[in-house]
């Protein structure tokens, strides 16, 4: 029941200049900043996506071993990196939300997790589609696959928990604690799965012994990674903007209702 010092109405208080990076926690400033930033971000993401897509899907040569299916990796690998990198961002947002009680961090975490879950699901799905022709199976209980699956569960659990409460602040706080617990547990899961695999499961599928990537494949892969990262950032920022405005609308409506109440 701690009273949050920051205003929950999210109407950016004028004046009172704040110091350091904390000023980005001001929702009003966030809205003004992203208002100018987002069109550029969308534009860049679109350009990079078209460029990276063409490069990866059309211009880059097929792999001598995997043939055309190597192109699936131009989607798969960026998704895997985003799912993991995004979780680090979620952990950072959770710390900010728990320590400084910035409502914006709560909102950002809440809007980040469905996108993270989607990215995780896409990573699993594209990997599965790639695994079918390459490994001859849709799914292997391999260490990598299993730990990404667990990561996906964390994303989905966070998304569900942060939306499960009537009071969004309580949901944000609970979800932040969950995200941190997941962050602590993630290495344990990762390594336990590694040990489990080496101790128990004989390699049923010959893994490709990590081939050094040729530049023909590496560069389009990096281009696609940049493209998907930009797209990810644009989608998340747009969602956060929408959520901030939604809250503003709600608090304005509440204020209007209160005024009506006192008038009558």
């Amino acid at each position: 029941m701690d009273a949050a010092p920051t205003s929950t109405t999210l109407a950016g208080p004028p004046g009172r200049p704040s110091k350091g990076w904390h000023r980005f926690a001001n929702p009003g400033r966030f809205l003004r900043l992203t208002d100018r930033l987002l069109p550029w971000l969308w534009g860049l993401a679109l350009v990079a996506l078209v460029g990276g897509g063409l490069w990866g899907l059309v211009w880059s040569p097929p792999d001598w071993q995997q043939g055309e299916t190597v192109r699936i990796l131009y989607v798969h690998v960026p998704m895997a990196w985003l799912a993991m990198g995004g979780y680090v961002a979620l952990g950072a947002l959770s710390v900010i939300s728990l320590v400084w009680r910035h409502p914006l961090a709560d909102i950002a975490a809440r809007e980040l997790s469905p996108v993270g879950a989607l990215v995780g699901a896409l990573c699993l799905a594209s990997g599965s589609i790639w695994g079918r022709p390459m490994w001859g199976t849709w799914w292997v209980w391999d260490a990598r696959l299993t730990s990404v699956l667990v990561l996906f569960f964390f994303w989905a659990g966070h998304a569900a928990l942060s939306r499960a409460f009537e009071d969004p602040e309580r949901g944000g706080r609970a979800a932040a604690i969950l995200a941190l617990a997941g962050l602590v547990n993630l290495p344990i899961v990762k390594f336990s799965v590694d040990w489990w695999n080496t101790l128990h499961q004989p390699a049923s599928v010959t893994r490709l012994a990590a081939p050094g990537l040729h530049v023909d494949i590496l560069y389009p892969l990096l281009a696609c990674t940049v493209a998907f990262s930009l797209l990810f950032a644009a989608v998340v920022l747009a969602r956060v903007r929408a959520a901030v405005m939604e809250r503003r609308v709600r608090s304005l409506e509440m204020a209007a209702a209160r005024r009506l109440d006192t008038a009558s």
Partner: protein
């Protein structure tokens, strides 16, 4: 805190149906596997370690969603939080209470389920030890889950969703220990990993659960 633990135990003794229900559920889940896989002893023995651990964890999850629920509704949770016991201490007591009132009866039932699943009798002792440690991990994680979902809509559905992924390492090592013993290998490494997990979570989870309780 001792008084709180006593209170937990006395409450559980007054309503033994809750613990018995979990035990029956555990045996029923274990009994479902022979129906699903077929009654061949060899196939069952192969499956037994994993099936035991899975059934055990599911059964231990059952009472979790009421862990704080009843006390939050009648207001005694607020009083407990005001009583000077730190929220983390309260969460610790709750985890210990859950382990003593739910996991211990389940452990007593392990030989029954193990016999039904045709687990070699030499592995029963290790099975009880491994499951005891695994349920300790689950009690700690489950306390956090229960504190987080307290007051949530559909909290009962959400709770397993949050807790089970976190419990995967415990499943891996508990099943590994039982399987190692059943096939004549020393289960020591697995048991040590399990104990390490419990030791790592024992201070961390009550702290996190306490933080969640303070917000509830």
């Amino acid at each position: 805190m001792i008084a709180l633990l006593e209170r937990e135990l006395r409450l559980a003794l007054r309503t033994p149906g809750d613990s018995l229900g979990a035990v029956l559920f555990f045996i029923l889940v274990a009994a479902l596997f022979p129906f699903g896989v077929g009654p061949e002893p060899a196939a069952l023995a192969r499956l037994a370690p994993g099936a035991l651990v899975a059934a055990m964890l599911l059964a231990a999850l059952l009472p979790l969603d009421r862990m704080f629920g009843a006390e939050a509704e009648d207001g005694s949770l607020d009083l407990l939080l005001l009583s000077g016991v730190s929220p983390a201490g309260l969460a610790m007591v709750k985890a210990a209470g859950h382990w003593l009132t739910t996991a211990v009866p389940l452990l007593v039932a392990v030989p029954i389920a193990a016999a039904m699943l045709n687990l070699p009798i030499e592995a029963w002792g290790v099975a009880m030890l491994a499951l005891g440690l695994a349920t300790l991990v689950l009690s700690l994680l489950g306390t956090l889950g229960a504190a987080l979902t307290l007051g949530a809509r559909r909290g009962g559905v959400l709770l397993p969703l949050l807790v089970l992924p976190l419990a995967i390492p415990a499943v891996i090592f508990a099943a590994g220990a039982i399987e190692a013993q059943a096939s004549g290998v020393s289960p020591r490494a697995f048991l040590l990993f399990l104990a390490a997990q419990a030791a790592l979570l024992a201070p961390l989870m009550p702290l996190a659960a306490g933080a969640a309780l303070r917000d509830a």
